[in-house]
Structure formats: structure tokens, C-alpha cells
């Protein structure tokens, strides 16, 4: 008999991944509320403690729907030294980066980052602080990790300044936006962000969620968290249709975008519908010189988590055939509860070349990381 007793199990991934992978959606957390203070002027410390942050959405604090797990995160991802899930680099390395052989991890900071905030000065200060914090706490300490330039999205002129300030800094691989803003993402008010991103050569990631004040569905606030979970795909479709139809990719032809955590199974049907209607209403949007689907195919990449999971694998392969194996970017969403385990996401029957593209090479290409 050989029995070892422990109060808690040793934290570790359940599988060992031999192949190097990119994880294109990792959420780094703050261990304490004041962790950004070193990069915020004293004025903002007092402001945050007195007034807090105000988003465009009605909920003063926190998300509109309670999450299914604490902090919407894996219950086994609490760092041993304390703090919420995702707030410790050493634990992230031990639980996720090392055992899963992550060689490129893209950080997408969420929470009070300046996005969707009504106080635009505070929003800009927080976004810039988050960007400095990503280098100090994460990317300078672990070269596998790359940051996202977080911007105060509702003030696009200031956001563009923040993007240009980070131009050429290898710590960042994309500009980060969220899907639900005050207006659909293709609208003119956001163009300075795209102009700056194109100029500095960074793709723009559009992650699910956002605090623009619009409900998660196009027809009001639903009752359940499960409706929020599936609602992200419709918000993302609105954002993508707006980007295409406003002519963002005509105006910024070198701009690439990554749709993050909103699914991809809907992409073909959205593109078909856009093309079908475009044939009849072309004169309404004469600034478009190509079919809507062509902009989507050429300018859009997709992260995989939460992975589409149809009953029959050939349906998955058919969707990917339209999208292209060269356009999918593997992501886990660590440490969030709907995390995808790298070894379990793809069914059997994928060629080695496609696996290599899916798990790593596409990410290296779109993010410009060798």
C-alpha cells in the first residue's frame, strides 16, 4: 500500500502536450485592487476609492449576469499565494504554460481596464496603466507571453495616441477591443483606432463582452446566464457586419482583425447572407468594392475557444473548410471556467499540417511572432 494524503491536490494540468502551442486568449488578473497604482497618478487613486468606475452599462459594478464559477474562472486555478484566478504568473506557468507547452500566450486583460467607461480621462489612464502593468508583471518576466494594447475605446482619438505610443514595442501583439460598444464597431467614431493599428502594424482583437450599455441580445435583456453565453456570437456578428459594411477594410486595407471568444460556426452563414443581400442593395453601400464575404475571408482570424462541438465531426470540418484552417487560432481562455483543454478540442481526422497551423503557425503569422 502506498498512500499519500494531501489537503488539496497538487495543481497541474491533467495532460501533457508534446507539441508547442499558442494560446491566443489568456486572461491575466490583478491580485489586489491597487495593483495598478504604480502606473496611475495619485489623483486617480483617490478618485477610484471615492467614486469608483462607471461603465455605460447600467450595472455599476461587475458583470450583468452572475457567473457559473467564482470570478467566471476555474475553481482549481486559485494561486496558492492568494488572489483571484489568473493573478499569479508563477502559478499560471505551473498550471498552464509549462504543462501545456504554450510557447506563445496572448494576454487579454479584462475587468476595469478603461474600456466602456464614461469618465474618459480615467478610462485613458487605466488603459495606459494596464498596458504598463502587462509588461512589468507578465511579458518582461516570461518571454512566451505577449500583451494587448488596451485602449479607452469610446474616445478613439485618445485610444489612437495610446496605440502609437506603443508602436514597435515587441511586448504587444495586438490592439484589444470588446464586441459591445456604444455603437457598432464599424462606425466612424472608432476609425482612429483602426487607422493607428494599421499604421503600427498590429491586428485588432475583438473579444466578447463589453460595457457599451447595449444588452447581450438585439431584442432586450434575457433571463439567464446561458443566454449571455450564447449571445456573444450575435454581438460579434453585429460588430463584424458593421466593420465590413462601413467599409473599414476598404479604408484600412492592411488591417487584420481577430474575433476572440465568440465562436466561428456562424461565420459562413453570416457571410452567405451578407453576400446575398449585397447583390440587391449594392448601391446603398457603394464604398464596398468587393463582396462582404471577401473582406471576411481576407481580414478576419478566429480564436477557437469555446470550441464549436457538433455531434458529427464532419460538420465541424465543413465549417472550417469555409473559414480556412489558416484562419483559426487555438485559445484556452485560461483561467476562465469554460476553458478548452488543448488535447481535447480537435476530433480525430485532422492532418498534421492543419494541426500545426491551428495550434501554432497561424498565431505566429497573424501576431508576427517567430
Amino acid at each position: 500500500m502506498n498512500v499519500q494524503l494531501r489537503d488539496r491536490p497538487e495543481p497541474a494540468s491533467t495532460t501533457t502536450i508534446k507539441t508547442a502551442i499558442a494560446d491566443c486568449d489568456i486572461h491575466p488578473g490583478r491580485a489586489t485592487k491597487d495593483e495598478l497604482y504604480p502606473w496611475l497618478a495619485k489623483r486617480w487613486h483617490a478618485h477610484l476609492e471615492t467614486f469608483g468606475v462607471h461603465a455605460y452599462q447600467g450595472m455599476m459594478e461587475g458583470p450583468p449576469y452572475p457567473k457559473a464559477q467564482p470570478n467566471a474562472s476555474r475553481r482549481d486555478a486559485y494561486p496558492p499565494e492568494g488572489g483571484p484566478q489568473g493573478s499569479s504568473l508563477s502559478f499560471m506557468q505551473k498550471q498552464h504554460l509549462d504543462p501545456n507547452n504554450v510557447v506563445l500566450g496572448v494576454l487579454n486583460p479584462l475587468g476595469a481596464t478603461g474600456q466602456g467607461m464614461r469618465n474618459h480621462e480615467l478610462a485613458a489612464a487605466l488603459a495606459s496603466a494596464i498596458n504598463d502593468w502587462q509588461i512589468e508583471k507578465w511579458t518582461s518576466k516570461d518571454k512566451r507571453l505577449k500583451g494587448s494594447v488596451v485602449v479607452a475605446n469610446e474616445d478613439a482619438v485618445t485610444a489612437a495616441k495610446e496605440i502609437r505610443k506603443r508602436a514597435g514595442d515587441p511586448n504587444y501583439v495586438q490592439v484589444l477591443l470588446l464586441s459591445r460598444n456604444v455603437e457598432p464597431l464599424g462606425q466612424r467614431r472608432y476609425w482612429p483606432i483602426y487607422e493607428a493599428a494599421e499604421e503600427v502594424g498590429l491586428p485588432v482583437g475583438v473579444h466578447a463582452f463589453g460595457f457599451g450599455g447595449n444588452p447581450i441580445t438585439a431584442s432586450g435583456w434575457p433571463s439567464y446566464y446561458i443566454e449571455e453565453m450564447v449571445g456573444h456570437s450575435q454581438c460579434q456578428q453585429t460588430a463584424l457586419a458593421s466593420l465590413v459594411l462601413e467599409g473599414v477594410f476598404e479604408r484600412f486595407p492592411k488591417l487584420n482583425m481577430v474575433m476572440v471568444e465568440a465562436g466561428f460556426g456562424w461565420a459562413p452563414s453570416l457571410a452567405w447572407r451578407l453576400d446575398k443581400v449585397f447583390e440587391k442593395l449594392r448601391s446603398e453601400v457603394p464604398h464596398l468594392r468587393r463582396k462582404p464575404s471577401e473582406y471576411i475571408r481576407d481580414h478576419i482570424w478566429w480564436t477557437t475557444q469555446p470550441m464549436e462541438d457538433p455531434e458529427r465531426r464532419e460538420h465541424l470540418f465543413q465549417m472550417i473548410e469555409w473559414i480556412g484552417w489558416d484562419k483559426l487560432l487555438f485559445a484556452t481562455d485560461y483561467p476562465h471556467w469554460d476553458y478548452d483543454e488543448p488535447s481535447r478540442v480537435l476530433p480525430a481526422g485532422v492532418s498534421e499540417a492543419n494541426k500545426q497551423a491551428f495550434y501554432l503557425d497561424n498565431a505566429r503569422k497573424v501576431y508576427g511572432v517567430i
Binding site: 502506498n2 494524503l5 494531501r6 491536490p9 491533467t14 475553481r75 482549481d76 455531434e311 469554460d338 483543454e341
Partner: protein, 137 residues
């Protein structure tokens, strides 16, 4: 199958659980209101440490508007994706889609409208001998 003494009874009071490794297998033993249960600490869905999850009840409805909440404290909820397993049988619940697709018999148990899921968590026999908690593995 070998017997392993895992704890003195005093070490495992009601409401507690103990994590163990036996011959390389990670398991946990639970004391739920004086009854002992053993479970492999690995979720059959994507491999998470299942036994770190909270113990909840089973919410089910036989007809719209009526909810029964039973098996209080006997359903373990996976710390990742929230899959629910009956700690007595290891049976998963809540995947009617796969349930239809796979070879699980389409029987509905008396008094329940919840569909059994595709996964069975591995349960481990636990007993008490001379004030020690013992598992068969």
C-alpha cells in the same frame, strides 16, 4: 483489487473530503452526512480535477413551473465546465443532445425529468473498518 486505509474516522468528519494518491491514481474520499464516497479525481469530460468541485443538489422539473431540488450535497459539480455527477453512481446529467446521439438507453427514471448525460465518473468503494476509512481500489 487492494484495500487501502486512507484515514482514521476522526480525520474525516462529515462535510470534509480528503485527496489521496494511490498507485498513481488521484482520488478523493468524501464524508457526506456520515456516509463515505470515493471518486476518481478526474472529470471524464476534459480531465479536470473533478473532486475539487462544490457539492450541490439536483434541480429537476417534471413539468414546467415545478422544480424539485433533491440529492442535496450529493451532486458534485466540476470546477471547470460545471458538469454534474451523482456522487453515489458517478452518473452525469444534463446533456440531452449527446444523450440522443449515443447509446444510452432512453429511459426516464421515475419522478425525474432530467436526462442522464454521457459521462460516468469513476466511483470507488469506501468502507469503515475499526475506525479507519478504507477504500477498495
Amino acid at each position: 483489487m487492494a484495500r487501502h486505509v486512507v484515514a482514521a474516522v476522526d480525520e474525516l468528519p462529515p462535510g470534509t473530503r480528503k485527496f489521496l494518491e494511490i498507485d498513481g491514481r488521484s482520488i478523493a474520499v468524501f464524508n457526506i452526512k456520515g456516509e463515505y464516497f470515493g471518486l476518481l479525481n478526474r472529470c471524464p469530460h476534459q480531465g479536470a480535477a473533478l473532486c475539487e468541485g462544490p457539492l450541490i443538489g439536483l434541480a429537476q422539473s417534471s413539468t414546467p413551473g415545478e422544480i424539485e431540488y433533491t440529492k442535496l450535497g450529493e451532486i458534485i459539480r466540476c470546477p471547470w465546465h460545471g458538469w454534474e455527477f451523482d456522487i453515489r453512481t458517478g452518473q452525469s446529467y444534463c446533456d440531452p443532445r449527446r444523450f440522443r446521439a449515443r447509446a444510452y438507453p432512453a429511459s426516464v427514471e421515475p419522478g425525474t425529468a432530467v436526462v442522464k448525460g454521457p459521462y460516468i465518473a469513476e466511483t470507488i468503494a469506501v468502507s469503515v473498518e475499526s475506525d479507519y476509512v478504507v477504500v477498495d481500489l
